[in-house]
Symmetry: C3
Subunit: 260 residues, 3 copies
Amino acid sequence: MAATVTFMSDYGLDDEFVGVCHGVLAREAPGARVIDLTHGIPRHDVRAGALALLRALPYTPPGVHLAVVDPGVGGPRRGVALRCVEDDRLLVGPDNGLLVPAAERFGGVAEGVDLATSPWRLQPTSATFHGRDVFAPVAGRLATGASLAQAGRQLDPASLVRLELPRPRREGATLVAHPVAFDRFGNALLDAGEPDLSHRPGTAVSVAGRPAVVARTFGDADPGALLLYVDSSGALALAVNQGSARDQLRLTLDDEIRIS
Amino acid sequence: MAATVTFMSDYGLDDEFVGVCHGVLAREAPGARVIDLTHGIPRHDVRAGALALLRALPYTPPGVHLAVVDPGVGGPRRGVALRCVEDDRLLVGPDNGLLVPAAERFGGVAEGVDLATSPWRLQPTSATFHGRDVFAPVAGRLATGASLAQAGRQLDPASLVRLELPRPRREGATLVAHPVAFDRFGNALLDAGEPDLSHRPGTAVSVAGRPAVVARTFGDADPGALLLYVDSSGALALAVNQGSARDQLRLTLDDEIRIS
Amino acid sequence: MAATVTFMSDYGLDDEFVGVCHGVLAREAPGARVIDLTHGIPRHDVRAGALALLRALPYTPPGVHLAVVDPGVGGPRRGVALRCVEDDRLLVGPDNGLLVPAAERFGGVAEGVDLATSPWRLQPTSATFHGRDVFAPVAGRLATGASLAQAGRQLDPASLVRLELPRPRREGATLVAHPVAFDRFGNALLDAGEPDLSHRPGTAVSVAGRPAVVARTFGDADPGALLLYVDSSGALALAVNQGSARDQLRLTLDDEIRIS
């Protein structure tokens, strides 16, 4: 069975960056199947990338998971490759918090290496395109079955950079949650999940001081009405039927939203 | 030979939705070749999706054709899988009219199943992401050669939802046609086809009361001039050389356009 | 080993054009691996396409390289397939200058054919979609190992259309260069390359009369500051840290930029 490489980035598809990384992967691992998760992560938004990776990986085959959202490329941040405890999943990308939530989803980091001196880097290695010159060749070699220990110098998993993520909290009957991502329709994903929701579909609630309804699908609310629902990833989310919750509530990331 | 799965949707590429469906397909059918037809169908525009699928499938290998433009997801609309009379092509998606024009292009529906109780659905099945939880796993299983009859409960093909499509008509020497889709350049595809055009290239005609020329390619008209041509799909189409027919004629879908 | 086909175009991903070409490739060459380099070349910008192809191909496996940026489709311009001197790389696309810089990167054109009468064209051949009807079927057949000589009528490589590209020049201590492409962040790629830069990182220089710094990465300059750096393709480039050089300098393609 061919190995699977998944690939996520903030490169967008307007330029040839993604295609060039596919070229490098094909040279290193001609038999691998490469799946693009998305290249539409907002530029340099490490947290959005980390959360998208976390949502996506449980649905992909185990394999090598290449992720590049890398505002610090060429600076002192490390490039790393990590092996998860479960499934032998391998994560490759910058050490800026992007990979850790996904690694924790699969039991944590069993083993990791720093790619600074990886023998698999392309030479010359550019200062600005480590997706092509460092991460894709390492991901490709790992997809052929090469050993993680040969990819670089061993690192202490406790030294990996972790993101500060907001956490929901309860204040009596009120749930205080925060939007951690918006999709292209203005739906807001919250940091709270299905277990934090104590109301059944159809219940009227107050969200940020406005009337809303707990719903199962968009069609359960009137057009223009605000609804609180369990997103397909299991997270609580806010939407406006045929509209944008982000716009209607003037939300920005990490705002406190009081639900009662 | 590996089975082919084609995949079309209105999910866009900004989020991980398409990538997650690819992950599910790869888990279910590791050996299949997956071809993205487009994920840029305007959101919830079932008719645009149906017409794009109809235009694309004659050029793809036979196989499993997954299509998701699904404004009614989570509501009472059915999810279905259909076998066409010709080529054993299998169509998977919502029963909202999206699949029927393509099925008719391949001889009609020989057999269909309702996926409401399909044993192949992912569990838990979300209310809002049937692409991932219902349609991709069914498409993947079918691509491995599993039997359509096992995918769900048999349905009567006559019960499938059909789209109302406008039809062109003749009023004496005048052809009355309607734009059914616009591409990103503002070219308008009409519901009329090559056989409805009785004029040779170079002929001056009147389109919506304005002068236009029957042309073979854009270069046959002056910049800014309106031209009527046979599109690569065999449909009549309106364009403005180096401009937008949609903007110049202020067209919206289903407008009556008189050509004489 | 499966043959590789790379595919670049200005079709965008909103419509089914790219997917349809993939369908044709899959029919002609079921075993080939297809890599999308990008479909975001600005519409009809042959030079931008030629430069993106030139930057990308050294990173892809050798194989068949399909490229379509084709404002003259349906007119007198030729469709061609070319074999490069090195690597047996095959280039397929319109004869408008798009392919020649990449061919020269691989030793020049060893052999070429005109596809006007190619037996591999789809019938009927549309006037407006040669990507589907001419170039994809030819690329697919070549990927199966069919002979270039059978693809069409032999042509004289000296007759191929070449682009006029600006060239940098020195005026004493001043380098005069020109932007030849912009990426989506407003970074400007210049026609000059690393060997034209005589200053070390950290040096203050004057670019178009404004202060700038020679930098290795964006992080070496203050936010909003102009920097001159060697791009990952080896070209000199201008950027504004966390901003747009294109906007700040009001650049357009081929402007003269004086660096001293």
